[in-house]
Amino acid sequence: MNPYQVLGVSETATDAEVKTAYRELAKKYHPDNYADSPLADLAEQKMKEVNEAYDMICDMRKNPSGSHSTYSQGAYNNAQYTHTNFPDVRRLIKEGRLDDAMQILNGVSGVGRNAEWYFLMGMIFSRKGWTEQAYSYFQTACRMEPNNQEFISALNNMNARRNYNPSGYNTVNSGGCSVCDVCTTLVCMDCLCDCCGGNGCC
């Protein structure tokens, strides 16, 4: 593997250029973006490659100021939940067996349909590409348990995706700045801060 090729920079690039390229790619492949995507595993793999390439370049250059890769590889849904009522369903979703996972969830009735049930239903629909359904399930999960970090970050991530703005300026004039925009901005800023990894860059 040529680490420079992975990061898309020339071997003569300065440390700052390498770091910028790394940051751009890390933002692009950040696992949070793909947490509820059918391509989550591929994105994780890409992220790993980028991290490895960056670490390799840092080691080769032995630059004392060059920090190492700071992005975690796992998405938030892998690590952050402490208690789950549906370990099997989570495993099936991770393996991509969506129909089996759905079947188990559909078998749950009445009080068993707690916030996590709605969250996992949202997860399945999101991976199937049924975005509207997924969004409504995530919203219900957050309404039922407004303090659950896992559900909130899933919904925030989805909210960010429901406002498509890849070119950096707003193409749609919806006017003004809503509460939702503020939230999205905060989420984005949070991501950017993560990216700097507390190395005093921001």
């Binding site: 049924w130 975005t131 989805m158 406002n163 498509y164 749609v172």
Partner: protein, 284 residues
Amino acid sequence: MFGFVTVDRSEMLGKDFDAYKAIYCSLCKQLGKEYTFLSRFILSYDCTFYAVMALSLEDDCSGFCTGRCRFNPLKKCNYLKNNEEALSKAAALSIISVYYKLVDNIADGGFFEKLLCYLLMPFFSVWHKKAKKKFPKIEEAVAEMSKAQFEVERDADCSIDKAADPTATMLSKVLSFLTDDAETCRILSTMGYFLGKWIYLIDAANDYDDDMKKSNFNPYVIAFRDKKPSHLKDINASLDHCLSECLLSYNLLEVRRFNRIIDNLLIYGLPKKQESVLYKENKN
């Protein structure tokens, strides 16, 4: 459902636009070559996009040559030198999708629409047969879509996701046929699903007022029948969601060439189209 997948010329480099135009002209030429001169009239930007995707994944691209346009002999056009396979696939998709559009119109169109479709049908039956023989998988995917769409539209409470599923699945399959690599296939299939969903939904958004008046099937009319004031914002969010997912999938794809054309399409072309469908027309 045609004509929504266009590039934004103002955000494009000249050389990229030349390449895009050359692919457009080459597809036109390919249609003429395989399905007679008349079939050139069905050339669409949507199928040009399919050709761009096909070409972007091919191992080699032999470059361009100059020739004369059949519609305007005074004009000189650039054409791709080789890459018949990719162009042939896109040409087949053009024929097959227009054929099924005609079949749908004959089933539920107005009197004049039906009449026109009946007149065109003999030509398209012959071309469709030929395309089917060449690329049976593409034909099967579009045929399934047509059938599934008919089923879906009989559901009076059809959700947005369900209504868009047949078109999304069709494009997902058709794009995944462009590669043999399992990983690339998954990426293309996801990207195709969300692009197909966007195409279906932008068409539904475009027809919203019309369908409401005539009480035609439209998933947005069904979804927002009880809450009218904020429907544009909700429609926009649902379309944005599709584009975001499409771009996320595309970001994982290893594209060999023409990446700036596809970037332009996803970053500028489609959002601009969406804005014009949702906001500009309503203001007038």
